[in-house]
């Protein structure tokens, strides 16, 4: 039995593939920034907020972490219009990714914050800093440093999960691959190439974010 694979038919469509990859990276970049910001806000709420706020954030985190991303995406794209909120595929994808990453980032950042040595907070309090100032200037930077690898991993997980957004016609990489194979019937080849591109993007993102973390977040301190 001979299998005939024709990768060139897929690689010929490289502009479409690259465009899809660019979309994936763009979606990931926006979601990473907003999602981590949301996660930090939630971590703050859970450690410093009033009880009702803590409960709401806790419920949000548990809901997102215990339901599949594809269902969250479909809910936003298909479900919200029934309430009058109609969003484009791209906006739906970004919002779904931000909401998803935010919940995981909330837990990750909260763990980092809770690992703060008590003495740091006492020193900040003794210097008359407010609770907000203490959180932003004394607690958060070392906490982010502590959990940076976990945050990077979660960002990559969200990037890989964004492949599903192609199902609602967001023109990212999996959509591009699907489109290509629907035209030239080279499904296996198309998806192999797309998969390898995802793998490369995952490795590249990890490398870049680790460098970014080292240089910008940690005030130039290494390791």
């Amino acid at each position: 039995m001979s299998i005939e694979l024709d990768f060139m038919a897929v690689l010929a469509e490289w502009p479409m593939l690259l465009r899809g990859a660019a979309w994936t990276l763009g979606l990931t970049a926006i979601s990473a920034v907003l999602g981590v910001a949301l996660g930090i806000a939630c971590a703050w709420a859970r450690t410093e907020g009033a009880a009702p706020l803590r409960w709401v954030v806790g419920a949000y985190v548990e809901l997102i972490r215990n339901t599949p991303f594809i269902v969250q995406l479909f809910f936003i794209f298909f479900g919200l219009p029934a309430l009058g909120l109609r969003l484009s595929p791209e906006w739906s994808s970004v919002i779904a990714m931000v909401v998803n990453l935010g919940a995981y980032a909330a837990e990750i950042v909260r763990a980092g914050v809770q690992a703060t040595p008590k003495g740091q907070v006492e020193a900040a309090m003794s210097l008359a800093l407010t609770r907000a100032q203490t959180f932003v200037h004394v607690v958060l930077p070392p906490a982010l440093r502590r959990v940076w690898p976990a945050l990077v991993s979660q960002i990559i997980i969200v990037m890989l999960g964004s492949a599903v957004c192609g199902q609602i016609a967001t023109q990212e990489l999996s959509y591009a691959a699907n489109l290509i194979q629907s035209r030239n019937f080279r499904a296996f080849e198309a998806f192999i190439i797309a998969t390898l591109m995802y793998l490369l993007m995952a490795m590249a993102i990890r490398h870049v974010l680790n460098r970014v973390g080292d240089r910008f977040l940690f005030g130039g301190r290494r390791g």
Binding site: Q120, A124, A128, L129, P141, F218, R221
Partner: protein
Amino acid sequence: MSDTDQNNNGAAVSIKGLRKSYGSNEVLKGIDLEVRPGEVIAIIGKSGSGKSTLLRCVNGLEVFQHGELQVQGQPLVYQDAAAMRSLRQRVGMIFQQFNLFPHLSVGRNVMLAPGLVKKEGGAALEERAKQLLARVGLADKFSAYPDQLSGGQQQRVAIARALAMNPGILLCDEITSALDPELVGEVLGVVESLAAEGMTLLMVTHEMGFARKVSDRVIFMHQGRVHEVGPPAELFAAPRTPELQQFLASIH
């Protein structure tokens, strides 16, 4: 040295009948103490005698249940965050574990609180920070990071950091206990110069020689009470109670 109001007829710290418990365990059983401005008080005693707890009550890190505590004429109001912050601008604290902020340089450590709390800024703040660091003998370490410094150096930075807020009172909680012996002297030297300049100091310490040399009064605490009080010459040379005699014997 202090930029707060001069309360000449008032004590720097006034403690009356202070009692504190952790749950059912009473650790401070009625403390009475008046500290005059510019006075240097050394607090000594066995571990568990309540010395650190008492110190931490003065700047509100510990909450007491009964009694009165006033700092520069103002009672402590725990529920009022603004009042507590105002208190902590007037009372500085140095910790046994230094507690420098590891992600900030030495200079930024010193400048952080004045910048945020007193809204000082710019070149003036940086200049003042450099002067403070020079005062503790670390002028050349402005851009260094805490993990590049020895314990003694870190503690001196901590002192500069506390001084940056211009407190009238400084609380020192066993500030040399975590230091290698050869580094203790450099820190005590800075404290001694602060005392000479008229800073009000409350020090929990195990350094008896230093306490004898620098303090105006020594307080010996035992099981949550002030057991003996007096000038160092009297207390060390002629301990009256068996507990203090035992304590002094055990540390020599």
